[in-house]
């Protein structure tokens, strides 16, 4: 009843990798280092290059330029069946003519593992995903979630040092997805295998990952832990893709060590200044902003912008407000449980300290790609 043995995960080293299809560049000069045993998520909108990166690692497509090393060895030109990598697909890809047990035994059979040894390893892998009772069923007799658990067992049964998962939970409903996320996390902890996980769902990325690489337009915008990406995004795209946010734009002046932005006739003070001549924008996180009655509860040094409540949503764990500011920007504000209630059309101030906002260079592509 033990899970497959802990194996040393493989490191992945991608340097200056590009992938071109004719005139189209799917992947543009990316560098990515994944540590042994790490849970790395490749996050981004569709067409951002994350699946291409996964396919390069899996050996399903060839790299156009650059280098790719797995476990310290270059795998350029090595076909996928020689890479010894587990892959889990969004479409499960279970063999419909084989039972669950035969599916999971398949990679072992290919490796010449027979008899009791094979049976024991199949059982161990199915136990790990809690599917041992289904060994004699056929895939079409299982639900999507069950099929994906079998696919996971099949991809791990041969103890690969690296597991790739391509939006494995994309076809499942929310409840099941959340439960399976925790299962995947548990399995990763138990095995010590390197996991590379592709998703477009930032919440899923935050739940699962040690680190996240955010892809946009064939490039990696930032690599970091969830906390790093949320608290200090390197680009406006990352700031907007991870978590909820409000973007304030306006004319900015530098005064000493501060950036002063005028938006909708009101001033916002931000600490620090952007390097270079980039046009700054201000990113606000909903929970770092307080809603106050106009002019009330003033804290020294805080920024205040006046607006009216456009939408008030009760979420159970708190409330969410959308506040229309003077220049028409909609600011998202999260009110904690027990905070004062506001109604639609109330005039309010949104208040935030200069240390709670994020100053970033403007980037028009951040708006276009977020659809």
């Amino acid at each position: 009843m033990h899970a497959p043995q802990r194996s040393a995960g493989a490191a992945i080293e991608i340097r200056k990798a590009s992938k071109r299809y004719g005139a189209f560049t799917a992947l543009n000069d990316i560098d990515l280092h994944i540590r042994p045993g790490e849970f790395m998520t490749l996050l981004g909108p569709s067409g951002s290059g994350k699946t291409t990166t996964l396919n390069l690692i899996a050996g399903f497509t060839d790299i156009s330029s650059g280098t790719l090393e797995i476990g310290g060895k270059s795998v350029t030109g090595l076909p996928s069946h020689k890479r010894n990598i587990g892959v889990v697909f969004q479409h499960y890809a279970l063999f419909p003519h084989m039972t669950v047990g035969k599916n999971v035994a398949y990679p072992l059979t290919l490796r010449g593992i027979k008899g009791d040894d094979r049976e024991a390893r199949v059982k161990r892998a199915l136990d790990m995903v809690k599917m041992a009772d289904f060994a004699h069923r056929y895939p079409n007799e299982l639900s999507g979630g069950q099929q994906q658990r079998v696919a996971l067992a099949r991809a791990l049964v041969f103890d690969p040092p690296l597991l790739l998962m391509d939006e494995p939970l994309g076809a499942l409903d929310k409840k099941l997805r959340e439960w399976l996320q925790l299962e995947i996390k548990r399995i990763h902890r138990e095995l010590g295998t390197t996991f590379v996980y592709v998703t477009h769902d930032q919440e899923e990325a935050l739940v699962l990952s040690d680190r996240i690489a955010v892809f946009n337009g064939g490039r990696i915008e930032q690599i970091g832990t969830g906390r790093e990406l949320y608290d200090s995004p390197a680009t406006l795209f990352v700031g907007r893709f991870i978590g909820e946010s409000t973007v304030l734009r306006g004319s900015a002046e530098i005064s000493g060590d501060e950036t002063v932005m005028t938006t909708g006739g009101q001033k916002v003070i931000a600490h620090g200044r952007l390097a270079g001549g980039a046009r700054p924008v201000i990113l606000l996180r909903p929970e770092r902003v307080a809603l106050k009655r106009p002019g009330a509860d003033v804290v020294s040094g805080e920024n205040r912008l006046t607006g009216t409540i456009a939408e008030a949503i009760y979420l159970g764990s708190g409330s969410k407000y959308e506040v229309r500011l003077a220049d028409g920007t909609i600011a998202v504000v999260r009110g904690p449980l027990g905070a004062a209630d506001f109604g639609i059309c109330d005039t309010v101030d949104i208040a935030f300290l200069p240390s709670d906002l994020i100053l970033l260079p403007d980037d028009a592509s951040a708006d276009v790609t977020l659809t």
Partner: protein, 296 residues
Amino acid sequence: MTATHDEGLRSAVDRSAFLSRFRPRGAVWLAAPAVLVLLVVLAYPLGIVVWRSFTDPAVGVDNYVWFFQSAVNRTVLQRTFVVAAWVTLVSLICAYPYAYAMTIVGKNVRLALILCVLVPFWLSGVVRTLAWVILLQDSGVINSILRGLGLSPVKLIRTLPGVVIGMTQVLLPFMILPIYSVMKGIDTRLLQAARSLGAKPWKAFLQIYVPLSLPGVYAGAIIVFILSLGFYITPALLGGPRSILLSSLVQNQVLSLLNWGRGGAMGVVLLVATFVLLALAAPLMRQKHTSSRREA
């Protein structure tokens, strides 16, 4: 956990409930015209054939006794099945790669390949068979080419290989089309999955793709085999005295000798033998999984 376990079962139950809810009453009558035609043109004449085989010229099993006592009849019956088996095998060998090619080529080439299958299909069987006579005869196109190449001519016309070649060409579409229709539904991403699990490309093809294509192979093989058993024109024109098939014997009994009872008995023997073979093949075709089609 239990919720997810029951999920598959529940959705299966929902599906059947959905189907029965929307199944209009009396839908069975939609099949009435076809059933009527089959009754009139198939069941009724077949009934007469069976009836006469037991009653013409006298009541009893004399016709069957005659059939099995004749060495010629037994040889021809056996030869009919052997030829059908060869035609099925040769058709399969030609059709499988052809159908596979149809699934992997571009749209225009696929259209051309489909036309290559269908155009001969639209020509009359007699015309095609006469074309084969021209090709196969001793002074025909094939032997002229062989002679031109300095090779010795081969005897093709009025031999079993000649009959098999001609029948295969006529029946090939019946093998290609069912195989193609199954193949085009196979999710080729399964091959990618197999390779990721460590299968060499040819192994992935043999162990994953081929088994999933078998329903089409079985369907095509059964159609071709059964059509071969009753083939008349092609073997009659391309065959010789040593390659006579059962259909020619039946024709001889009924039309030349006006012996309807014996002809009927031969037909019934062929029919029963076919059913026995189908019954033997049936377990092969019973597959637990329903389909390999990719989900939407």
